[in-house]
């Protein structure tokens, strides 16, 4: 009788384990592939963000003439009105657009005169290697609080910088000739109040010639 009870108990336990297995065996390769699939794909995200959110938002950038005039008249007021910054960071960003005449071309930048009848370099479009967070933090479109792991948020900076180097700068270099007018939109990073803003150094997001 006792043996029968044991057999029934073992059969029930086996049936339960068969229906609801307490663990699964997964090959290491499959587990690694699953983990990779779950990981944040920075390059893909940056590409989609660039096309679907950043480019359609360029008209929200402050007009360059308005910004430069505000900076010239009262830099702290211009910072308060037009800049963005992250957390307690001292450095801040401007998101601007406008057009200007090419006044000089060097390896690392293309300088534009923005004000009417000006021949001074007022904006320098950066055309060298691009580093830092200006594109990520300058537009206000991306929020650090949406990223549980800040490494993903930081990787986005590098991915956006690479898009500029790959897609924007080569085209700009091809377009720029002294005396020509270039329309642009981009972001500028200002370290602190002592930063020289003449010219304002801008990482280009989009450039067009008429």
């Amino acid at each position: 009788m006792r043996a029968v009870t044991w057999i029934i108990a073992i059969a029930v336990a086996a049936a339960v384990c068969g229906l609801f297995p307490p663990f699964h065996l997964v090959p290491l390769k499959t587990a690694a592939a699953e983990q990779k699939a779950k990981a944040f794909d920075t390059t893909r995200f940056a590409g989609t963000f660039w096309t679907n959110r950043l480019l359609p938002s360029l008209d929200k950038a402050v007009p360059a003439r308005e910004l430069l005039s505000a900076i010239q008249n009262d830099p702290p007021a211009a910072k308060k009105k037009y800049s963005r910054s992250l957390g307690l960071d001292e450095n801040y960003y401007y998101f601007l657009r406008g057009d200007g005449k090419v006044v000089s071309i060097s390896d690392d930048e293309i300088s534009l005169a923005i004000s009417k009848d000006s021949t001074n370099a007022e904006v320098a479009l950066e055309t060298g290697l691009v580093f830092g967070d200006a594109l990520r933090d300058g537009t206000g479109l991306l929020n650090v609080n949406d990223y549980p792991n800040s490494q993903d948020f930081n990787d986005l900076s590098a991915a956006l910088d690479r898009i500029v180097e790959t897609n924007v700068i080569p085209q700009l270099r091809g377009q720029a000739k002294p005396g020509e007018t270039i329309s642009f939109a981009g972001c500028a990073e200002v370290d602190d109040e002592s930063t020289d803003l003449k010219p304002l150094k801008v990482i280009p997001i989009q450039t067009l010639t008429p």
Partner: protein, 317 residues
């Protein structure tokens, strides 16, 4: 009539004395609210400053603050959380040991109704801690990377000492640095090893790297304790003039060595600012505020021989 007035005055007198006595007894017996300061390790002066500043600010604000040392051990950290939850602490100022491994501890405190404010290091969750005050390590390391190119040049071999591999700051610093340096193909990283943010391990790891790669021109260290250990190894092997050392933290001993021209640069992280602000956040929470930003990046400034005079005592002069 006179007796009536006397009785009334007597009653008022007794009531006043009773009221005063009750208030005095309440003031004496009302215990202060308790705040726990849980720190990844106290075996590093930078974290001692972080812990002590947080405690001092919490004490100033009228709380009874106690420091708990997790000794860079997630199990010890979990035990600290169990203890402080059982002891009825009202808030936790928390410097985690592991971005993933510490999430469970924060959730445990949250379930017990205790707000947690992360300081300097983050946890990989945006719905566990009440707020996270984090060093902007990535941006700081981009600045160090740019300065590295200026001072070391675009050619040559270098090494990197990483911090604790489970900590996001380790990778944010490394990735920020490499986002710049890797763009220069003439610069070759010949060794990248973890020394766990520890000075003694920094000395050991750097010593073995120097044996295998005697011609390196520079070393980037993920914190200043490792930079001090690396510098010690360089002095011991007579290579302190050959190899440029770059740190991260803004620790006082490194800032002094930068001023003496012995270390090239570090990133000043402002631990006192983060610690004070976190204690003030906890105070605001305990007084009823609830809308805190989840993540607050705190700037990291590049300290070099050119601007070192502006910095001391874990911050700006």
């Amino acid at each position: 009539m006179k007796t009536h007035w006397l009785k009334l005055a007597g009653a008022v007198l007794i009531a006043t004395v009773a009221l005063l006595f009750t208030r005095t007894v309440n003031a004496q017996s009302a215990p202060k609210q308790k705040i726990a300061v849980v720190i990844s390790t106290l075996n590093n002066p930078w974290f001692v400053v972080l812990a002590q500043t947080a405690k001092d600010r919490a004490d100033e604000l009228g709380y009874d603050a106690t420091i708990f040392d997790s000794q860079n051990d997630t199990a010890k950290e979990a035990a600290n959380f169990d203890d402080l939850i059982a002891a009825g602490y009202q808030a936790i100022l928390f410097n985690p040991t592991d971005a993933n491994g510490s999430v469970a501890n924060v959730l445990k405190a949250k379930a017990a109704g205790i707000p947690v404010f992360c300081i300097d290091r983050e946890i990989n969750s945006t719905n566990a801690a009440t707020s996270q005050m984090l060093s902007d390590s990535y941006s700081g390391s981009v600045k160090i990377g740019e300065y590295f190119i200026k001072t070391v040049g675009q050619q040559g071999e270098y090494a990197e000492l990483l911090g604790i591999v489970g900590d996001n700051n380790t990778w944010n610093r490394s990735k920020g640095f490499h986002s710049v340096v890797d763009r220069f193909p003439g610069l070759k990283m010949v060794a990248q090893q973890s020394a766990d943010f520890d000075r003694a391990k920094g000395l050991d790891v750097m010593t073995s790297i120097l044996q295998a790669h005697p011609d390196i021109k520079a070393v980037f260290c993920g914190n200043d304790a490792m930079a001090m250990g690396a510098y010690q190894a360089l002095v011991a092997t007579g290579k302190d003039r050959q190899v440029k050392v770059f740190g991260f933290d803004g620790a006082d001993d490194v800032v002094k060595l930068i001023a003496q021209g012995k270390i090239e640069a570090t990133g000043m992280q402002f631990p006192k600012v983060m610690a004070r602000k976190s204690a003030e956040f906890a105070d605001a929470y305990l007084k009823g505020k609830r809308d805190f930003p989840q993540k607050i990046p705190v700037p990291v400034e590049l300290v070099t021989q050119a601007n070192v005079a502006k910095y001391s005592d874990y911050g700006k002069k």
